[in-house]
């Protein structure tokens, strides 16, 4: 097993592609995007399903090396800016170290 970081980002769906492009650009080995039903944060309740989809959130999960994680976190402004979004990081271990 190899130690890696697990980055978890909740962001509004219309910004999802911008975030995954950022991850790709910063050298993340991959990511997984999950749908979100609803969320609450500083900006109040965001319940998906409005006709324009602007209240939808997604969760983006990215497992990466410490180095890539540091680069991602350095883009704080880019990731969070004025947008509804949260970023959290935790430790994990992966089976195939060469891929992450």
């Amino acid at each position: 097993m190899h130690a890696r970081k697990r980055i978890e980002i909740v962001v509004e769906a219309v910004q999802a592609e911008a975030v995954t492009e950022l991850l790709d650009r910063l050298g993340a080995p991959g990511w997984t995007m999950l749908p979100v039903i609803a969320g609450r944060g500083r900006q109040g309740l965001r319940r998906g399903g409005d006709p324009g989809g602007v209240l939808d959130n997604v969760l983006i999960l990215c497992i990466a090396s410490e180095e890539v994680t540091a680069r991602v976190l350095a883009e704080r402004e880019e990731l969070l800016g004025a947008r509804p979004a949260i970023v959290s990081v935790s430790d994990c271990a992966v089976l195939r170290g060469e891929h992450f």
Partner: protein, 325 residues
């Protein structure tokens, strides 16, 4: 038809049903995918029907001035909206600009409900009006951006990688609603009467029922939105949401009159002027003006102006336009 049935046709009653169910916290729900499917269907059906009608001899007569009037309305209506918002309410410049953009643009379902009301009354209208609808969807976005420009470094905010300007132009010219409406319109036009006959059960037979179901969902969405973001709505904002459609309708009537439309066409132009976007513009504004408060514009558009237009506005605009059969 009884006058009760004329005043409250099924689509409006379904809206009321959804609104009432939501207000009383019923667990009634329309699956998300159904709502999106119905919205897509309504645009396809409106486009096909309009295109087929334009393919009839003389069907395109008067199209160009009507398009011009529509685009002008979409570009200009955000101006009075912005002015009103900045004087009547305490919205910041960016949010005010974003809201204003919604009121230049249009609502497909409000248009559909108005078309239904005209049919029920047996009043005709220019068949190319769906093309006008499509043309009015997005020009207002440009005005909204100009209005926001002098505010906080709005555009610098957009994620570098995402390429906001690129996305933005797509939203204006290649927005899904615009593409589907115009595309279906063109397909109906090319296909002509043969396509019309072949697709009539789909595009015409199903239409009233699909509209009812979608309005049921809109009623639920309106309440949900009022509940989630309602606290944030100062009374002045609600006032704006009720006043602005009247201004838009008046300008629409004027524009329709200048473009030489029939009473039915003028009524539809009034409806287009009065209605506010709840699909194309919100998505564009999230990308272009991320600092603007989405809760405000979604709520105003979906939960204040939409119900007002559907319940009070449409009968009023039809009556003023002399399109009551």
């Amino acid at each position: 038809m009884t006058s009760l049935a004329l005043l409250f046709p099924p689509p409006i009653l379904f809206f009321a049903l959804g609104f009432g169910a939501g207000a009383l916290r019923s667990d009634l729900a329309v699956p998300d995918a159904l709502a999106k499917a119905l919205s897509l269907y309504l645009m396809v059906a409106i486009g096909l029907k309009g295109g087929a009608a334009v393919a009839m001899p003389g069907g395109a007569e008067g199209l160009v001035p009507a398009l011009a009037a529509g685009v002008a309305l979409s570009l200009l209506l955000p101006l009075p909206a912005f002015l009103l918002l900045r004087t009547m309410t305490r919205l910041d410049r960016e949010t005010a600009a974003a809201v204003a953009g919604h009121y230049g643009s249009v609502s497909v379902v409000t248009f559909a409900a108005a078309v239904g009301a005209l049919s029920a009354r047996g009043v005709g209208y220019e068949p190319f009006m769906p093309a006008v609808l499509a043309a009015m969807e997005t020009p207002a976005i440009l005005t909204a951006l100009l209005l926001a420009r002098h505010g906080s470094a709005a555009r610098a905010e957009a994620p570098r990688g995402g390429g906001a300007p690129r996305h933005l132009l797509h939203e204006v010219f290649l927005n899904g609603s615009v593409v589907v409406l115009l595309g279906s319109f063109a397909i109906g036009w090319i296909g002509g009467p043969a396509a019309k006959a072949q697709l009539s059960v789909f595009a015409e037979g199903l239409f009233p029922g699909a509209l009812c179901l979608f309005l049921l969902e809109m009623g639920l969405v309106a309440v949900r939105q009022l509940r989630a973001a309602g606290r944030g709505l100062e009374p002045a904002l609600i006032g704006f949401g009720l006043l602005m459609p009247l201004i838009g309708a008046a300008c629409g009537l004027g524009g329709g009159w200048l473009a030489g439309l029939s009473p039915g066409g003028m009524a539809l132009m009034a409806v287009l002027g009065a209605s506010a976007s709840y699909i194309a513009v919100p998505a564009a504004m999230r990308l272009a003006l991320p600092r603007a408060d989405a809760g405000i514009y979604v709520t105003l558009s979906v939960a204040v102006t939409f119900p007002f237009n559907v319940v009070v506005g449409i009968p009023l605009y039809l009556w003023v336009a002399g399109a009551t059969g």
